[in-house]
Each structure stands twice: as structure tokens, then as C-alpha cells.
Symmetry: C2
Subunit: 303 residues, 2 copies
């Protein structure tokens, strides 16, 4: 059994994967060229019902939730948001090259409509209706990697599972040692080199679409695991809101590149073997977490 699995890998590697096999050639077009040539249908608007705004005093962090991958947690987080659970809480942790995390620093706040115990959604079963644009590039952490509706994901055909990958900007649900100890009251965002060892071990619920710099430029916590040691070091959360609950004029009107289009394929190819005068040697490879997922602002007043 183990041997056949290895054989299977060998076939896949030789047939379709570019693992240092051929000499890569620089792309004739840049990502910028691809984006300029994109059409309206290459983009999709964020779904306001699955978009959260983390409002800090310095600005807004826009996050999109991925109910395909964590339906129970997405639902629970939206309940918490609508209970105003997060309003007035704080960013309590900033560990360099890892995560920022927010929570109730006093651990006193109660929940009403939301659940306090949720089984982890570390992976979900996949089926034909869940989009997955597979990346041909080899990945050490997952048998298959790619994108599903704009989210970087891993997939294991033998296990029939798929999961969101811990790339930069991934939004996850902090938990304790028990699988069901994360309920969404404490969330984290990846701010460093992708800690992919977390994949399949914790629930990822979405990703940051805009405003990462508000999180990444925070002073690092000096306590264990990057927790701040004094309350005055915390960054206050003004509020977290569901975009759909705000008047249209107060929403951040963003579109994200679709990942199921020929344009996206061109974009990935342009980044895998970058062209232009600066690059001398094309990489011949792109890491899942180096694939750009551009977001653009659009007018609030759509024609």
C-alpha cells in the first residue's frame, strides 16, 4: 500500500509537475500586464454577508470569511459580531514572524446567541461542487494545493479532505488543546512566513483582504508567545462588524481576483517565472503562499 502510494506520486511528479525538470523560461508578460488586460468578469465583489471589518483606531482591516471551509465557525463568529462581542476588546498578542491575536483580555465577557463549544473544522470533505484550481507546483505540506474561491487551500484526494492553508493573512480560530476549544471569541491572523504546520490542526475561517499593515506594524509583545505584558500595550478593537450590516456608503467596496479563470492562470504563470529586465533567472516554481491574490477598490456607486 505504501509502495503504491509512492509509485502514484512518482507518476504525478514525472507527468505534470515542474520540480526542477525543465529549464524555466522568463514570462513575456508581467502580473501588471495581466491585471491591466483583465476584464470585469475576472473579479468578484466580496460577499458583504461574509465580510468582516475589524475597526481599529488607526483604520479598518477587511477580512473575508470562507463558509465553504468552516461553516459552523463562520456562523458563530457572525453571531459574536452581531452581539457586539468584540467591541472594546483588544489585540493581546503580536508574535514576530507568526501571528497577531485578539481576545477578551479580562476573560469576562459573556456570549448570548453564540456557542461556547464548537467542534473544530480543521478540514472539510470535498466534493465536485467545491471549486479548486490546482497549482501544478510541488508542495511539501499537502498532496495537492491550489485555490478555492480566492482562498489558498490544500487537498488530500486519498483522505477526501481539503483545508485552508496558513498563508500570510490567513484568519484562524485560536483554540486550546482540545479540538472543540475554539469558538471564535479569539481569532488570529498570520503575519509571518506561512506556518503551514498549523494546517489541519486548527480552524481557518478566512483571510485578510485589506489592512494587513495595521496588524503587521504593531509593536511585538515581549511576553511568552508574543503576548503583551501590560494592558496599556494592547491595541483596542473599536468594533468588528459584518459588512452587510453597514449602510452601503460605509462599506469598503472591494473586489478580489477570481481564481477559476484563464486570467488567474496567466497571473500565476507570470509570477512563477517573472520576466522583465530585473530578473535574471526565473524561479521555475511558485509557492502556494507566494501566489498573489490581488484586491482592488471599486467605487461605491456602481454604474
Amino acid at each position: 500500500m505504501r509502495m503504491s502510494r509512492m509509485m502514484c506520486l512518482v507518476v504525478a511528479v514525472c507527468a505534470s509537475f515542474s520540480v526542477h525538470a525543465a529549464t524555466p523560461v522568463k514570462s513575456a508578460v508581467s502580473m501588471s500586464d495581466v491585471l491591466k488586460a483583465s476584464s470585469a468578469t475576472d473579479w468578484r465583489a466580496l460577499n458583504p454577508d461574509n465580510t468582516l471589518y475589524l475597526e481599529l483606531e488607526k483604520g479598518r482591516v477587511v477580512m473575508e470569511l470562507a463558509p465553504d471551509f468552516a461553516p459552523r465557525h463562520v456562523e458563530n463568529i457572525k453571531k459574536l459580531v452581531r452581539e457586539s462581542y468584540f467591541d472594546g476588546l483588544a489585540i493581546v498578542r503580536a508574535q514576530d514572524n507568526y501571528v497577531v491575536q485578539w481576545a477578551d483580555p479580562d476573560e469576562k465577557r459573556e456570549v448570548n446567541t453564540a456557542q461556547r463549544k464548537l467542534d473544530g473544522e480543521f478540514t472539510v470533505k470535498y466534493n465536485a461542487t467545491l471549486p479548486f484550481t490546482r497549482l501544478p507546483d510541488v508542495d511539501g505540506y499537502a498532496p495537492q494545493v491550489g485555490h478555492s474561491n480566492g482562498f489558498a487551500a490544500g487537498r488530500d484526494p486519498k483522505a477526501g479532505t481539503t483545508w485552508l492553508a496558513h498563508c500570510y493573512g490567513a484568519l484562524g480560530v485560536a483554540r486550546g488543546n482540545e479540538n472543540n476549544s475554539g469558538d471564535g471569541t479569539s481569532l488570529y491572523v498570520v503575519t509571518g512566513h506561512a506556518p503551514r504546520q498549523l494546517d489541519r490542526n486548527i480552524t481557518v475561517v478566512g483571510r485578510v483582504m485589506q489592512g494587513m499593515e495595521l496588524l503587521t506594524s504593531l509593536p511585538r509583545g515581549t511576553g511568552a508567545l508574543g503576548f503583551y505584558e501590560k494592558p496599556e500595550q494592547h491595541t483596542r478593537i473599536v468594533a468588528i462588524k459584518v459588512a452587510a450590516d453597514l449602510p452601503v456608503a460605509e462599506r469598503s467596496q472591494l473586489e478580489v481576483i477570481r481564481t477559476d479563470t484563464p486570467t488567474f492562470q496567466k497571473l500565476v504563470a507570470a509570477q512563477r517565472n517573472r520576466g522583465g529586465d530585473w530578473y535574471k533567472v526565473p524561479a521555475g516554481h511558485i509557492d502556494l503562499c507566494n501566489v498573489p491574490l490581488p484586491v482592488r477598490a471599486v467605487s461605491n456607486k456602481v454604474q
Copy 2:
């Protein structure tokens, strides 16, 4: 020729690489256990002659240079430092999830003993005397990856070349479009998910050993490529010094884990398949840039 290269890859993958082949098992020991059990000979002191201190108003960033990989640039940078070239200059760029960079914002400063043109040292030839502890984990960007004297590196046996990898904290020499347009007067540090596509395209001269948070927590520049738009947004460089030029009492006495020891192998194994109560599924893989390279402070007064 191309086919034989592919065949060669296949053998390597099947024989010794763990690409989703076997079911990984959680490590019985943690990195912390491994470090606690380490002995004095598992560590080495930074070489003060190849250690730079970037002195900012908020503190010191300690960087170790890697003359094995970029001898000409290391020499030139030390000349610049000893001319006080950098003193009073500024961090002029902070691009989120990419790099910070310093330079002369006015582009007026002259050099004396240092060179203004240096051929790029994007790769070097390797030989038996250059240490290389190979990682068994697959990598998409290089045929072989591993560590050389504490630096993450890639290697291509067919080309006979080796190079430092752009992991988090890597210190590189900014350049223009020409291969010989980087002289060390402008340096950058990787602050995001490893931009490995830069490997073999630009000269990496070392890495940050302590003080990354002073660079990563800087406000991001809002101009193109993360350059700051106004001089008052710059972070002033008080000075850059070679550690050896300071009195011993003023040096940061640091040791870094050696990467050519059984202890290092144990550390990597512990991180590849993390144990303990929190992790449920071991990753079965570790990315080159996720391998920790611990640094510890030691007393200035060694017994």
C-alpha cells in the same frame, strides 16, 4: 537529456524524500527539549569580525555576514561601515510582506575605500570544504536545500552552485537592473513570506540574528514598492558598526545553533512533526524557511 534528469529526480524522491509517502508520526520530543539537552558545543559564537550592528534609536539589530557566499560584498560592506558610510542615513522603505531597505535618501554620500561597482554574487561554486547539512524535505525552488554554517541555502549539483535563500531575516544587497549595480550602500532585510523567487537573482550577504522586531514593526511606506513618501517618515540609522570594532563590553554576546550537529538534526525532526498535546496532525514536512535557527545571549564575562 531532459528525460534522464527527470528520472534522476524520481529516484531521489522515492528513495530518500518524504513527499507525502509515509504517515508521519508526532515527535516524542519538542524543540524546547532538544535545546535544553544541548551542550556548549552545539552552539557557536557569532564571529565579531563578520557581525554588524545596525543601531537604531529604538535598539540594535544584530546581523551576521556570510563571507563564504558573498566574499566581495562582505568585504565592501565592512569597508563602508568603517568609513561610517551608513551613519545618519535612513530606512527608506518598508513594503508589507516583503522587505525593509535602507539607503542614502539624498543619494549624495560618497564612498572612499569601498567599491562603487561589484559583480553580483548571486551564487557561488561549492566544494567539499563548504559545509552543507542537507534537508530531506522537498523544495520547489532548489534541487537541494539545507544549511551552511547557520544560513539557509539552496544548492544545484548539476550547476555546481549554491546560494543563500531568501528566508525571513535574510540580508541582501539592493541592486538596479544590471548585475553589477549593487555595491552594499543599500541593503534590505526580508520581512515577509520568503520571496524565494529572488534566490540566484541578487546577492544575499547574511541574516538578522536579533532585533527583527525593530524592522518588522515599522510603519509601512505608502509609496510605490513601500518607499516612504516623506523624509520625516524615515527611520534614522544612528550607525552601523562591525562588532569587532567595539569594546567587548559593548558587544551583543550571542551564540547561534550549529547546523552541522546531531542536535540540529533532532531539532529539525522535532519541528517537522511537532509533538505535545496541541498538535493533532504532524505536518510530515518542514519548509526550509520554517527551520528555526535559535540564537541565545551569553554573558559578556565568559568564565
